[in-house]
């Protein structure tokens, strides 16, 4: 099975896409959505904290592993198809039975994705700092 960081990377990639989408639209949404105006009332710089939500999406992708680690559900159930809602978890777990080379490739890709995302988030803050 792929290492845990692969699942985190998949979730984090999704989280990054969501945050980028919110970031792109937040000014336009200010006129239309109460929750956006509430966020601005809470903190004018609320979007500075938003990229930290990427870790939440990453953790969401690890939920099946967390359930397994704390023995809340048995492995047979965790590997059932219903858990594919967690970014294809069950399908990825069976990868090693198909081809171990794909396992290694996923591990490498997961590392690259996390590395790239980490730099991108730092780049976002560096850009905000340079505007000041």
């Amino acid at each position: 099975m792929p290492n845990k960081h692969v699942y985190f990377a998949i979730g984090a990639l999704h989280g990054a896409a969501v945050i980028a989408w919110v970031g792109y639209n937040r000014h336009a949404w200010f006129e239309h959505f109460r929750w956006v105006r509430a966020l601005y009332r809470w903190d004018r710089d609320w979007f500075l904290y938003f990229p930290l939500a990427i870790a939440f999406f990453g953790a969401l992708a690890l939920l099946p592993d967390i359930l397994l680690a704390f023995e809340l559900l048995p492995k047979g159930i965790i590997r059932s198809n219903v858990f594919n809602i967690f970014y294809g978890y069950a399908w990825l777990e069976r990868i090693e039975d198909v081809n171990p080379a794909i396992d290694h490739l996923l591990n490498a890709l997961g590392s690259v994705v996390l590395y790239g995302l980490s730099l991108a988030v730092l780049g976002f803050y560096a850009k905000e700092l340079s505007k000041q």
Partner: protein
């Protein structure tokens, strides 16, 4: 330097060590020179730069472009003391665990983000009240 037929410290171990070195260097520079905007902008990238360079010999070995014997040659000490770290018992003991690497790098990285967020907010506050 003797070449030992032991399993190598993974790339994550090398990356973690020098990521943490870069992180502490940045913190020290920040406390001694707190007014430098360039340091605030580019300093957080130092851990990534050092970590990446430190992991290059390992990555080259994984890609089959470099043999272990070559990577352990004393000349490779220019690459952030790679042979020295690779054959250190303390490095193997502390850094050969992927989970330890993830927690250490994750904690340092989160702190870097928090530092950046705080500084942006402070500068925006100064701008608004000016």
């Amino acid at each position: 330097m003797p070449v030992e037929a032991v399993s190598s410290l993974k790339g994550a171990g090398h990356f973690t060590l020098w990521f943490l070195v870069g992180y502490f260097v940045f913190l020290l520079a920040k406390y001694t020179n707190s007014n430098s905007l360039k340091l605030r902008i580019w300093g957080p990238f130092l851990p990534f730069a050092l970590g990446t360079v430190a992991a290059i010999p390992y990555a080259l070995q994984m890609a089959g472009l470099l043999s272990r014997e070559t990577a352990l040659h004393p000349g490779f000490c220019v690459v952030l003391l790679y042979p020295f770290v690779e054959q250190s018992a303390w490095a193997k003991a502390w850094l050969d665990n992927f989970h330890v690497n993830v927690v250490a790098v994750g904690a340092a990285y989160t702190h870097l983000l928090v530092i950046s967020i705080r500084h942006i907010k402070r500068m925006r506050m100064i701008k608004r009240t000016a």
